[in-house]
Symmetry: C2
Subunit: 430 residues, 2 copies
């Protein structure tokens, strides 16, 4: 991690640049996968699974007994931990239910919004080295609370055709209605288009590699909703003299270990603190199992020294980090000025890993600067607000000239007539 | 309008089919417009304005004096109507502000969400026969209430280079920070990419023709947020014996006059009512200035007779109409069972045109079945929720084993370490 001292504004965009992602002619490859899945359905999926996952499956759906037996394969400790996380995530997302608020905008005119859950949602869980069962909870719990009727989970099979038991256990907890052993862009294509055995969903959630992300982008282009386009993970830590450099270093590393393309950024008010953090990072790195990955990620990260806190806030808002840790004495005051961030962690005892697993907030968050335009996944991501209005005779009488005047000015005479004809009836009534 | 009596389920999708939109090789044309705007900026926009709008402008931004003088060109009656609509729309959207709710998910762990406005939003207002100034209010008022710093309005110039004064008047009311006389796909490209004189926005809102819609789709593909992909407008009216067939016909016509590709659907419980509605439609059609347009639209619409109200609800949910009018005695009870609709109008004195202009609800609503996956524009469309968490020493002690266990099971040891290192410090403290 390079220490950059009081960089001028012109130098900021270079510091904030996330690692370049190699472009792999993804668009064309993904379109051809969609075409194959569209034309050949389940057989196409099985063929792609043979090709990409190297496993010859006889069917796509994970059998019920595999799911019910999954819990027996996990330690009690892990099951307890999952239960605690489940409770906290549920509490936070349950509280996001909005109460109906009826507004009398004008005498006799009452308007309100009501929440309606999406009927069919798809959750994609990547495979690979580590089974991301926590993401099943993060996406499945709000889907369940929202009341989605169908919750489909897709995750790639391992080389022997099985699916990780922790993923199955969590999928069962959140009430997944079906689980498919299918991964990659083909899973996204299947949830977008539907096949003989898989239902077409309304919205697709979940992280994945570049193929999955490009597939979600194409799915959205075809009209399916998606949560967001997930990129490499990232953290920004702002720490002042009240911080523990040991904690700051641990937080930077817990981001860096995610992948070589993860981006970490620390901002501190003094050179001394920057040096302390850097040496702590180097120290802790020695004992890290995923040392090699973290090292590559750290190479693109930096520790920026900015003595002016207002400037630091500007830099953070320009970066728009997925995770922002404010390890400062005035973390509340400072957080009020943060416009762009996915999730904010206040103080010295709120590590990012708490939010990743168990504090209750969602860990599906905007990356790559998307925090400028969207928040993370929450309860609202699994539904929509429908607006309602009810107007009484008196209410319409009150609004009629407004509506008629505007409709006529826009050249929409039938709009005006729909009010006029009711007015004549109201006159008879009143 | 054809009367269809008790159709079987297998026949539904044909009835619900919106008019086909002619495909115009839009994708390629739109991409080339984006390329031109990206490469040539303002000059490219002026060139495209000459080509598509037939007018040679010297600059893109509407001059301040044109804006301030716009009000003088409108009748007092229209300005008053706009003020009433402004007030009602403000009241409804102001009430959508969410109060911060702090949840202690676990002892010592507090999580909450805070709203942050998008910084830069773009509003597109189509030109053409009728100036849709009401849409300036519908998109601009929530943008203003949310607190967006920059609100850019784009609308095509007329043949003499001017912009409609009602649009300018409304843009001024909602606090637009700049107004550009540029339309079509090129306006969307400019707001997506930015040019010398136009700022790149975070999110683009507003309706438009097929080119504009395809441009928004491409803009989203490039990473800019959009409100939704607007298609032809549509209404579904469910009416029982308590309705006034005259009102129902007026509501159907007020949708049909929007465009030849508008879709109208009526559902009634009896053949007698179907016939009454049909003859009223034909009667009212005679006096309609936009008779020809409405007639073509009505040709694709139908009046469906379904004596079973539960079946009718199923049909409505499958259709997912942009506007749904429930002109029934039990409209409340029925509306609770509607899952998919943009905006619902209850009772006999709540015409769609009230929601189009002045009840206070938003008229930017999902079309073409998108009501299955999204609601209309509301206050939240102009911002995002940022999550926060603050954990005390005791809070982290409470959660630490959960976090460590899950992180280790996912193979993320630095995540576990970020907690472990804090635990050792907490032991010293407590």
């Amino acid at each position: 991690m390079e220490i950059i001292i009081e960089p001028i504004r012109e130098a900021w965009s270079k510091i904030l640049k996330r690692p370049e992602i190699e472009k792999l002619e993804l668009e064309e490859k993904v379109r051809s996968i969609f075409q194959l899945v569209g034309e050949e359905g389940d057989q196409g999926l099985l063929e792609l699974t043979r090709k990409f996952d190297g496993v010859d499956l006889s069917g796509l759906q994970v059998a019920d007994d595999m799911i019910t037996q999954a819990g027996a394969l996990l330690s009690e400790e892990l099951k307890n931990a999952i239960q605690v996380a489940y409770r906290n995530i549920s509490l936070f997302h349950e509280a996001q239910k909005s109460s109906e608020q009826r507004i009398e905008t004008s005498k006799g005119t009452v308007c309100w919004q009501e929440f309606r859950a999406l009927e069919r949602v798809g959750i994609y869980i990547p495979g690979g080295e580590a089974p991301l069962f926590s993401t099943v909870l993060m996406l499945g719990i709000p889907a369940k609370i929202a009341g989605c009727k169908e919750i489909v989970v897709c995750t790639p099979p391992s080389a022997n055709g099985s699916v990780d038991p922790a993923i199955l256990y969590c999928a069962q907890l959140i009430g997944a209605t079906s689980i498919y052993a299918v991964g990659g862009a083909q899973a996204i294509a299947a949830m977008t288009l539907g096949t003989e055995s898989m239902v077409k969903v309304d919205k697709i959630f979940g992280p994945g590699n570049q193929f999955v992300t490009e597939a979600k982008r194409f799915s959205q282009y075809l009209g399916t909703a998606i949560d967001m386009l997930a990129g490499p993970s990232e953290v920004c830590v702002y720490a002042d003299e009240s911080c523990s450099p040991t904690f700051v270093a641990a937080d930077l590393l817990s981001q860096a270990e995610h992948g070589e393309d993860s981006h970490v950024l620390a901002i501190v008010p003094s050179i001394e603190l920057a040096r302390k953090v850097k040496s702590e990072v180097n120290l802790q790195l020695q004992d890290l199992p995923r040392q090699e990955v973290a090292q590559k990620s750290l190479a693109s990260g930096s520790i920026v020294v900015l003595s002016d806190q207002e400037l630091a806030i500007e830099l953070i808002n320009q970066y728009a980090p997925e995770h922002l840790i404010l390890a400062t004495a005035n973390s509340y005051e400072m957080s009020a000025k943060i416009i762009n961030a996915g999730s904010i962690f206040l103080g010295n005892f709120t590590p990012e890993s708490a939010g990743d697993y168990a504090s209750g907030t969602n860990h599906t968050l905007p990356t790559g600067g998307q925090a400028k335009i969207t928040g993370g996944v929450n309860l609202m991501s699994f539904g929509k607000m429908v607006t309602f209005q009810e107007i009484s005779e008196i209410g319409l009488k009150e609004l009629s000239s407004t509506i008629r005047t505007m409709a006529e000015a826009e050249g929409l005479h039938a709009h005006a007539y729909a009010v006029k004809i009711r007015e004549s009836k109201i006159k008879q009534l009143i």
